[in-house]
């Protein structure tokens, strides 16, 4: 039997580095020229982005008829992708805010990166409601401003709640991320010799001078933001789930959707964060900062949230029988055995089956296996949204209204484009801003806090 020593606290950062080495290590990618691999990576992601842009342009010119959406399946890849990307964003806020409230010190090494991923994911997500009408230039009407039609938005529609929720989420995440960046930008300002960079860092860091009087307020603001970001992140995906659950569609209208969606979002978000972190720590040689322990903890979170998703599947299935509602029953049989059964079984195997491997410590600590499982989880969660949206729409109450949804090349192109956008933003981020929070990591090093400190 393997032995863990429970009497000692596992170190957050390995190797007991000095404070100055933290500065040097984290600032290094910002001060050196990018290696060839970076250029190759960003070319690939830019190509994907360009593909999406071209497909999008054609969509705007020709109309959404070039997509596979039809009657009855009026929501296809556009909404599936929206929900997918919003879900990805949730991991970042969970790591930044919720783990902060739970005082889990291992979050410090990954919170900056995770928050950045949240912002990029929300950008990708926000594109889809903007474009899915085919006439994005009319999106101004989504906002409640006095207009010449004297019309207001429908405040009681979950589609509008989405507008408020996603924009609030984006704004608050951006503000939270920026606040965290200020001390680091100040450190970069103090160490750079490049005049232009100095100007930019000075402007962005607002003149931060590491004053304790400021840290006092800063810590309070950070706590307040974390305290608000937590219910915010729950509310955002809850409101996204309301898009479906407030309807009367069988398979959509079920009360468990809000926590189910939130758990699923954290699940897929952590898988994406885990995947990207594995690449980052290898490329930047941050293995002592983003430790294997951290990755293992993330895998545990994935296991827990994966089981919550599995629980929701069981509950939906049981109640579909218990309710006596034949339409509800049919939806679930149709998902497993109907024309889209292949997507259902991909979803179940990725979300419920493969994730069980994380019960085993050896697998939780094996980089190649966890990476593959992370990819499979993302595939499974994408398909979960596909199953929810498409199968429920393609066959609902009236058999004469049934119809199939077949995605077109433009649907797929835009999906690829969203991945391209996401990764392009990440690649730009890693070479312009510090990927790890310098100040927060320093604060959790052993011996960084005084022995006089602590609470009353």
């Amino acid at each position: 039997m393997r032995t863990i020593d429970y009497t000692i606290e596992p170190p957050v950062i390995e190797g007991n580095p000095s404070l100055s080495s933290i500065n040097d290590d984290i600032a290094r990618p910002l001060e050196t020229k990018p290696p060839k691999s970076w250029y190759i990576a960003i070319s690939i992601s830019l190509t994907m982005l360009l593909t999406g842009a071209v497909c999008l342009a054609i969509t705007f010119i020709e109309g959404v008829g070039v997509w596979g959406v039809n009657q009855p399946v009026g929501w296809g890849f556009d909404i599936v992708n929206f929900v997918f990307w919003v879900g990805i964003g949730h991991a970042g806020t969970l790591i930044s805010a919720i783990l902060f409230l739970l005082r889990q010190r291992w979050r410090t090494a990954i919170s900056r990166f995770a928050e950045a991923m949240t912002i990029f994911a929300v950008i990708c997500a926000g594109l889809f409601p903007a474009i899915h009408t085919g006439r994005p230039w009319l999106d101004g009407y989504l906002l409640p401003y006095p207009n010449q039609h004297s019309l207001w938005v429908n405040f009681t529609s979950p589609l509008l709640w989405d507008v408020f929720a996603v924009s609030t989420y984006f704004t608050v995440s951006l503000v939270f991320w920026y606040i965290g960046l200020i001390p680091d930008l100040a450190s970069l300002r103090d160490r750079t010799t490049n005049k232009i960079k100095k100007l930019i860092y000075s402007i962005l860091s607002l003149g931060w001078r590491h004053s304790s009087r400021h840290w006092n307020h800063y810590e309070m603001a950070y706590l307040i933001l974390a305290g608000f970001a937590t219910p915010l992140v729950l509310s955002v995906h809850t409101i996204v789930s309301f898009d479906f659950a407030v309807s009367i569609m069988p398979g959509w209208h079920t009360t468990i959707f809000p926590p189910y969606f939130v758990a699923g979002a954290v699940f897929s978000g952590f898988a994406m964060v885990q995947n990207v972190l594995i690449l980052i720590r290898k490329v930047f040689k941050f293995e002592h900062i983003i430790t294997l322990d951290t990755l293992e903890k993330m895998n545990k979170v994935m296991l827990v949230t994966g089981m919550m998703v599995g629980y929701a599947y069981i509950m939906e299935f049981f109640i579909s029988w218990y309710s006596g509602n034949q339409f509800e029953r049919f939806v679930f049989l149709n998902r497993a055995l109907g024309p889209y059964a292949w997507s259902y079984w991909i979803m179940v195997s990725c979300n419920v089956l493969f994730i069980q491997l994380f019960w085993f410590r050896k697998i939780r600590r094996s980089i190649p296996v966890m990476f593959i499982i992370g990819v499979l989880v993302n595939v499974g969660m994408w398909f979960e949204r596909f199953v929810i949206v498409v199968t429920s729409l393609s066959r609902d109450y009236l058999p004469s209204s049934w119809g199939m949804y077949i995605p077109t090349i433009f649907d797929i192109g835009i999906l690829i484009g969203s991945f391209g956008l996401f990764f392009t933003l990440i690649f730009l981020f890693i070479r312009t801003l510090p990927v790890v929070s310098i100040a927060e990591v320093k604060a959790v090093l052993p011996k960084s806090q005084s022995s006089y400190g602590g609470s009353h």
Binding site: T7, F242, P259
Partner: protein, 394 residues
Amino acid sequence: MSYENQTFEAKPLPARFKQISFGLLFLGLVLSALAFTIDSHRALANYNVIFSLLVSVVVGNLFLFAIEYLSGAVWSTVMRRVNEIFISFVPIVFVLGLLILFNSHSIFHWAHEEAVKTDKLLQWKSPYLNESFFIIRYFIYFVVWILFALVMIKNSFNQDKSKDQILTYKNSRLSGAFIPFFAITLTFFSIDFLMSTEPHWFSTIFGVYYFSGTVLAALSVLTLAVIFLHEQGYFGNILRRDHFYNFGALLFAFVNFWAYIAFSQFLLIWYANLPEETFWMIHRWEKGWEIFSFILIFGHFVIPYFSLLSQQAKSNLNRLKFMAIWILLMHYIDLYWLVMPSLYKEVVFGWIEISFIILGVGIILVLFIWRYERIKNIVPVGDPKLKRSLEFHL
């Protein structure tokens, strides 16, 4: 630190406390027996509410125990023995529930044969909602809970002497295995005892709803017990503001979580406006039941929210004691609100309800005394995380 010289032996509880507890239990038993003779239907319904509350408290504490092991938390290790006292109630709670089990036809409409004959929906649900399967499921829930509870707390007790870290490792593995079983058994328990009192109604989030209340009930009871023992000197001076803060924070967090689940359930049913679902909510908004709904909104959410919002409030012992009692009471109101409107069209609340509340409180107190006297150390002295727990700082 001065704790190195303390022995952490469990000192006997004060006599007055024991007197009051036995007194309450006796009073509760007498009054509830009286209630049974006067109106057995209403008495049994109340007993169902109290029994569900007890299950909340006990199984909820088992959940908290498992979470401590799984998350590697150290702040709660020093108080875990109190948690284990509540967990050890499980076999007795099993016995207490038998009364409902063998009188299910009184409060469960689906157990009435004549009703099932004429009601298509009840016929459809009868493979699940029938007395025999109900009994079998009851046994399954309690076998699972009793097994996990007894094995895990036995490990913890044994560790007092052996100080073997393997026992912590074993409990971590058992805790991990427990959680999925917990989710399923608690959900179906709530469906069986609470949701099926209105057999025409259904809600997929119901298990989560009961879970949110369960965690609150367990936390409240644990908070009260720990603070009581601390203030009477049973813990010496080892517990500090840092330890208590987490109680406040968790209570606050789960009050929010409960409100979120309750509101989600309500909003979706209200918005879709399907008569097959809305009738349950409408029942709770008319003929006097709306009072209880308002009490829940303000008492179960608004008041605890603002009461525990500030950082100081979360570690203020008086505030915590008051809110723990308040939240436990609100959980009772919540369970009452789930069950009674389905059985009584017009609002009922009288001396019968009070008797059963007294009975419930009496049961918890007396069981606490009984199990407390069986423990040797009030702190798990052999736990490897103990030192870190004693030194815990926010």
